[in-house]
Symmetry: C2
């Protein structure tokens, strides 16, 4: 597997990206990595060059850059050059922890879509109480989705869950305001009907309050609602942990308690840390494209690399392509 | 103030409803309450009948009832009779902890809308880290909203926050996928433009991850996204508290810690308990209608009664009416 990585994207680039890449090549057989970025910064960090090469780039897309414009203008940025390597067949997949919008733009305009998929979907795996996690898509690639897009998300999510997450016959739920059939807005009512006929294990509507309880293995939703759900989970968890910290620091008694449970609470926080599950796939593109979390450390980068490796080895893109084709054929 | 209450709605009806009503009349001057429900159940609980009367009803709308049909058919239910009392001018406001959809239907079909308001909005006050809370609307009354509806929500939310929550010049934010102007789906892009011209203190887009940090005093959103956000907050909090409980019960050491922080953690949980802020107003109806939480205890019912009392005393409905009228006049 030949992987292209944007070494300059994310809060801890290039250091943690380079460290994660070195970990990956020593763990994964037949993996070669090309790091795109500033050679002067990367070289001193790359203490083992086995199966890793550097391609020097002198531009960087920052998190403040307007995505579409940045991809068009910064042709020699690490992110765009990485995407081009995939487009030109020099790499099988790519990963960036940088500007999400720019990665989506580069994916769409440089790498291109799978024929039959109208819109790519940003698809993170989120934590659940039972530790198994669930896939939610779309969380923001396409904020004005149609019902047919949601069906495509369901198919892509099911294939990924089966091939990469090794869940047999994964359940698919539609994020909605109630569990009963007939609930929802125009979009979800229409999507519900179409999902019933799709080649997936559709279990009906799921409510936002149940998704962290693993109401379904795959939760499909439009990019606007998915983004709201994802950021509400993050914000609520952040708020509770802030309040918890304040509570534990409020008196001598609570400080003693904090000392006793510190390690266990760290375990709890790790349970909710979704970097363990890899990055968010941009499903629907002609090759696996992974958005690693902006705050990724070497461990999260290693997870994302493993994820890309699985997607390539288990032919996720090809399976999506042939499944979508067979549905189109069935329609005729 | 004459208040009509559905004594049969909610998980702890009629007991906690009756207790809350008795607390309210002893605390609030010039308050008279009519309890609608089964006299045989209510009478033994009503140990003080000062300023409280019972109107016997023999039907109940349950949480399983289909809302619109239930309101049409169960004419002698406690909920419908309560709404009729408001319609006929026998009460100034009403409260139910029962079926939310049925209360919305009764509000819309029995009590009716304020002229100029197209859709009522379900509007709970949610907790924030600083303890001040924020108002979010709509969380599900209208799942297919237009931009003009969101502007009406913003006006109603501002008036309520100013008059009842005593926030001067309350900030209004639009729930969106990013904070920058130009972000969002078709609906939020259009609403953004219209909100800039509305007679409110519009501060732009707010992200779901910041709302519990009180990004704005009033957060406006369509009923679908608002419902997803609300239920995601509930589900995430529930999940973390479940994991916390498991963590504290995992060993002798953590059990000792649990004993030391038990009371403080209860305080934290109370901070996140939004029944303290009263129920969710159904703004836009011709009289104040409050949906108390289904799990309301006497304390939550008392909060909801105070809220209704404030809405009546500070003429929230009339102010909304004249504000909307003045905008319509300005348009001509």
């Amino acid at each position: 597997m030949r992987l292209a990585i944007d070494a300059m994207g994310g809060d801890h680039a290039p250091k943690e990206i380079v460290l994660g890449a070195m970990d990956a090549v020593s763990e994964i057989d037949n993996l070669t990595i090309t790091l795109f970025g500033d050679e002067n910064q990367i070289k001193p960090l790359l203490t083992d060059t086995k199966n890793i090469e550097i391609i020097h780039t002198d531009e960087v897309i920052t998190s403040d850059d307007e995505p579409v414009r940045a991809v068009r203008r910064k042709k020699n940025s690490s992110l765009v050059r990485m995407a081009k390597a995939v487009k030109e067949g020099e790499a099988d997949a790519c990963i960036s922890a940088g500007n999400t919008g720019a990665l989506m733009s580069a994916g769409l305009f440089v790498i291109g879509r799978i024929p039959g998929i109208d819109r790519p979907a940003l698809s993170p795996t989120l934590p659940t109480i039972d530790g198994k996690g669930f896939l939610m898509l779309d969380v923001g690639a396409n904020v004005d989705a149609k019902a047919s897009h949601l069906v495509q998300y369901a198919i892509m999510g099911s294939i990924y869950s089966e091939k990469v997450r090794k869940i047999s016959n994964p359940t698919v739920g539609l994020l909605n305001v109630g569990t009963e059939e007939g609930k929802g807005n125009e979009l979800t009512k229409k999507a519900f009907e179409q999902l019933k006929d799709a080649p997936i294990n559709f279990i009906g509507n799921v409510e936002a309050r149940d998704i962290l309880n693993r109401a379904a293995d795959v939760v499909v939703t439009d990019g606007f609602s998915g983004n709201i759900a994802l950021k509400t989970i993050e914000g609520t968890a952040q708020t509770i942990f802030t309040l918890l910290k304040d509570t534990f620091m409020s008196s001598t008694k609570t400080k003693i308690a904090a000392g006793l449970v510190k390690n266990d609470l760290r375990g709890l926080k790790n349970k909710l840390d979704y970097s363990e599950y890899g990055g968010a796939g941009l499903f629907g593109l002609a090759a696996p494209v992974i958005k690693a979390h902006g705050s990724s450390n070497r461990r999260a980068i290693l997870s994302a690399i493993k994820q890309a490796d699985h997607m390539v080895k288990h032919h996720v893109t090809d399976t999506i392509k042939t499944t979508v084709e067979s549905i189109e054929l069935g329609k005729e």
